[in-house]
Symmetry: D2
Subunit: 376 residues, 4 copies
């Protein structure tokens, strides 16, 4: 195809926790940049760090992205730290923490970059917004298995993570049923319960605990007892890692990570132990952990990643900078990074999806009416 | 939970071709009807046929829908015929075709049904609309792996079918690459190319042929040749069964099924033979067929099925009859069956998704500029 | 088919931890008993417990085993306790532990059972041998995901568990690679390392720790450092839960379960913490837990379960009692339970499979030569 | 590890139809050759063809085999032709077919190769034996999804293909059941029925047709009718492509490929049409084709491939040339290529596995007693 407009030089980086579908974005951006526009496109290694490393920025070619669509991870590598611009350095024999954001902007200019595509979650996109405000042309692409980015219906990686969670719940069902057990499965989601809600619904969970709906321990126990009375000797719990009891406090807070429960086992262990003691039904917990982040992306994530990748390049061509690609219904639209990051996205505890879950009998742990019925 | 409003008696049936996620709808409808409203809910066997069979309408219970969420198919059975109300009967020693729609309406009244939930694709929903116009209270739920129902972003079964198609393309990639072959994979889609487009994009197809974009054989051959010149000795084609060449005519027409190519191998065989002759590259075709219809539904289809199932019951409770559950962005909304069925839904050949595919180099067969470039 | 020989009445039970493939055994036994021999066959619920429960022994029919082949778990339920014949009862106001083995034998006679097929692992089969010695005709079928039953090449459930482990390692590879991490995955296997060895090999693990080869912590650290020096910034460890360091003692001992490391996180957490401290490479651990036990059985486990199930019934017909079905090469052969249980089966640390793993560079933690090379 | 014995230069090639697990063999051979022995190892592109192409033989390194374990296909490419040593050349203006086996041996000597590892099925290994007899040191590794190589319990690729077949049958079950259909699934296997037998058993097929047991059409129809009478409105057939009726002749013969049924649809179409006409039950067929050859290898094939790959190198070190790696029970043993290829391996129609299948009610089409019972 033909080159349209002035030839540009752009770069792409992936940051934050791993999410399936990153390679689909990279592949689509590279192909669109080269194929449609005839631009040069560079890869930045290991998130923003690549800007400050030798060989950290390198040319991407059509050959380099061959065969990467079905692969998990990111061919660019990622850095997953709380503060992407904070860097430990030794000065005058002392270790100090330095802010390297200005160096990154300077390096990008030195490289002659017309724009940088930043693929990341809430944290990485916030850093991208800061660079944009410092003068670096940026287009963002939202990815996170937590789906907690405002302004887009879905983020890259979420669909795959939901599928992994559902597959795990399917597997555990047979054992729970054969052994008359409660299985408490801890899913990712420190602040938002989307993954536990969708994964739990898809996996047929009987109880779903999410940070948006604090739970009563005794309601959970009563739900298990009622199921036993109805002849269901087993129960499956899908629990977001950030779920917490009424009267307690969030396990994870936005400023820093205050672990109010033991790191290991987290909330799922606490819940499993309570249920076993309160009901006498053998209870086990399982933390799905990084299994949710890796592996081959689902078809949906591959298609979404491809659309986001091509669109990010088009946004640059059209001068839509400081924007993020977003899915709205069936369309890809631009959303200002500033707007997208102005607030956090959470499950609506009164929304249709939670109501649908309640309709089919899912317990969220706030059903205090269960307690009164049990004492009749 | 408590019974709200007057107690009702409703029924649910599934019609048309199989699609993964039907059991999620049934399970959610049964649970919501019994759990939330305290209604009676009946299952109708084998599509509309059950209304006219002994034991064809039977009570559904919570126990009956236990464990069906992860299963493909439908516990109700389905009938898949062109004309669901046409029935062969013998009268005066002669076989005649009778319209049984009035008998169905009468039987539903006899059973005291307040409403019937009809889960089906375009054809089944059209029949449902007719029954609704004859006085039978109906709520529709759109399901079809073709995704060609107007008014909803997605139908039940589509996501799973796309995943199956992508998995198949992944599998074939390695063999195509090892053996320097063209693999032409025929996917379902007589009138609409959604499955081939999404599945092809997710599976990394090099060429995607859909009914909405008639193709030139020679463009396909030239695309293969150009790939060989660039060192890609293999190519993967994703072809909708209804794709057809420019100047030809649609393989499938809405009135009747005029097979203008041999039934076996269909368009994929025709394409594979042309490519092999024209380019000398060994070409094989594979028809994915019913593999796309069956098996455990994806997490997305399970969640969507659950939402549609609960919402269909709620629509009945709210008196929203003659409506269809529809997904719009992140919401489930009611759409009048009449509006939904007023036109067919097709891939927009000038839409963003086709453009995204072209951006990453996918060939649709209408790129006549490829031909001129080859003769330079 | 025709009834051969005298009509018999037999029963089947499943005991011990869950393992994929149990339903294949049950289905094949029921079909063979009814179809080939015209016998009656009963199911015993929840392991041996069913003999002492009302309705704990119930007739199995062809309809009852319909559609169960692809399902995990066991339609009979299982009891998973250390001592299957020990039962707490209250006598004279005091709780005492009673041995119920004689009651079981008596109950089986009362039911007129000619033989009982016991599907279980080492523990369940040991109990079966005791019942056999007490006069109850028994045929055993070996199942355990640990594969540690002597006399058979493979047990039911092992192949599926290996596949689950390999899938998990595949998933974690991409994240480990993207984030330059050590991922320590804990697999089941208290006494035997078959699952960790096969799963680790199939999943491309760099380090495999099994109970049969005690490891040196520092060797593991040095292996990680050497990989980093060779440009491999990540490493994958597959660790059997029963692995332990040289100079330490087995985590699990055959008499009782002496947990010498914290129950949670077990050996994988200990290893991950050591590696992170010793090498500075970020290290995470993940316990696969019950995911290895559940879910749809692999094709291999379905075929093996089918063969074992039919053969168990044939052994009864042929009077081969006190025997266990066993796979030897491509054949199913009878092995005396007494011989099979006379010793434990373990990975041969000097065998071909461990050597093959070492050949391709897998580290087992006993390579002390790595330490000397690092100090040169 | 240390170099043992004299340094060698070896090569590896993959030939014949694709089979999952080839990359596991290559990776293990490369690692063992370099890591254990310190040898040079070369890859030969596209089967034997690479010996006669520029750059057709190239050095393999540890980096080159990084990350290939989970991938289908072969990084070396393969040539799949009837006669690997036959090559069309133009001499004196005329196209002639030349035997290039001597050129291959000469080229291997010119390259200073001490031995060549040939990974292939029956055909490729036969060619290897010829080269060995011409003086080229060879070690063979058996791979074929047909499992029809004598002397080894299993070949590489078989386990994955069986799993793919079982997955497909699982998927089709739900649709067949919902729509009361006969689904005839055609699996690979021109001369041997291992894949159809194992895949059919694992997928719960009601009828299995293999070349080793010619079938009667009317027996198949009667089996379907009997199932309908017993309330099973659907049936699943697993059919090897080489299955044929009694009185007919094999579809595929060893010398040449005489297609006695139309290539398209093959035997599965013929069977489906017969069944539909004879029984009135709607019947569909599906040809699984190349889906059985590609995709990520199963854990079992990865482990077997790894063992074969390391052992092939060890055989060279030990001077065991003209041998093939073989699995016998749980051991890898050397088998003389001459012995392995002296006869073809087939399913034993009177063996335990076929009997086990019959025991659970599987019909093979030779049960003429079904016919007499139907006419009573």
């Amino acid at each position: 195809m033909s080159v349209r407009g002035a030839k540009k030089r752009i770069a792409i980086l992936t940051g934050g926790g791993d999410a399936p579908g990153l390679n689909a974005v990279i592949r689509a951006a590279v192909r669109t940049a080269i194929w449609v526009y005839g631009w040069e496109i560079y890869g930045v290694r290991n998130g923003y760090d690549g800007f400050l490393e030798p060989d950290g920025v390198f040319p991407l070619t059509l050959d380099r992205v061959l065969g990467i669509l079905p692969r998990g991870g990111t061919i660019l590598g990622a850095a997953n730290r709380g503060e992407p611009f904070a860097r430990k350095e030794v000065r005058d024999g002392q270790e100090v923490v330095v802010d390297v954001s200005e160096r990154i902007v300077a390096r990008a200019r030195e490289l002659g970059l017309d724009a940088v595509i930043v693929v990341g979650g809430d944290g990485t996109l916030r850093s991208a917004l800061r660079l944009y405000e410092m003068g670096l042309p940026i287009v963002g692409v939202p990815k996170t298995i937590d789906n907690d980015v405002h302004g887009t219906d879905y983020t890259i990686g979420f669909d795959t993570a939901v599928q992994v969670a559902a597959d795990a719940l399917d597997r555990l069902h047979s054992t729970a049923e054969a052994h008359h057990r409660v299985m408490v499965v801890e899913l990712m989601g420190r602040h938002a319960g989307f993954l536990a809600l969708h994964g739990g619904l898809a996996g047929g969970a009987d109880v779903i605990l999410i940070p948006e709906i604090p739970f009563h321990f005794e309601v959970l126990a009563e739900a298990v007892r009622q199921r036993v009375r109805r002849g269901r000797q087993f129960s499956i719990f899908a629990v977001a890692e950030g779920a917490y009891p009424v009267g307690g406090q969030p396990v994870y807070r936005r400023t820093g990570d205050a672990f109010t429960v033991p790191r290991l086992g987290g909330i799922s262990e606490v819940v499993a132990r309570y249920i076993e003691e309160a009901t006498g039904v053998e209870s086990r917990f399982l933390i799905l952990g990084h299994l949710q982040r890796g592996g081959s992306p689902s078809a949906t994530d591959r298609v979404l990643g491809t659309r986001f990748g091509t669109m990010a390049v088009r946004f640059i061509a059209e001068g839509r900078l400081g924007m993020m690609t977003a899915l709205r219904g069936d369309d890809i639209v631009p959303v200002a990074l500033e707007d997208a990051l102005a607030r956090h996205r959470n499950v609506d505890p009164n929304g249709e999806l939670v109501r649908a879950a309640r309709d089919i009998g899912v317990v969220f742990g706030d059903e205090v009416e269960l307690l009164s019925s049990s004492t009749e």
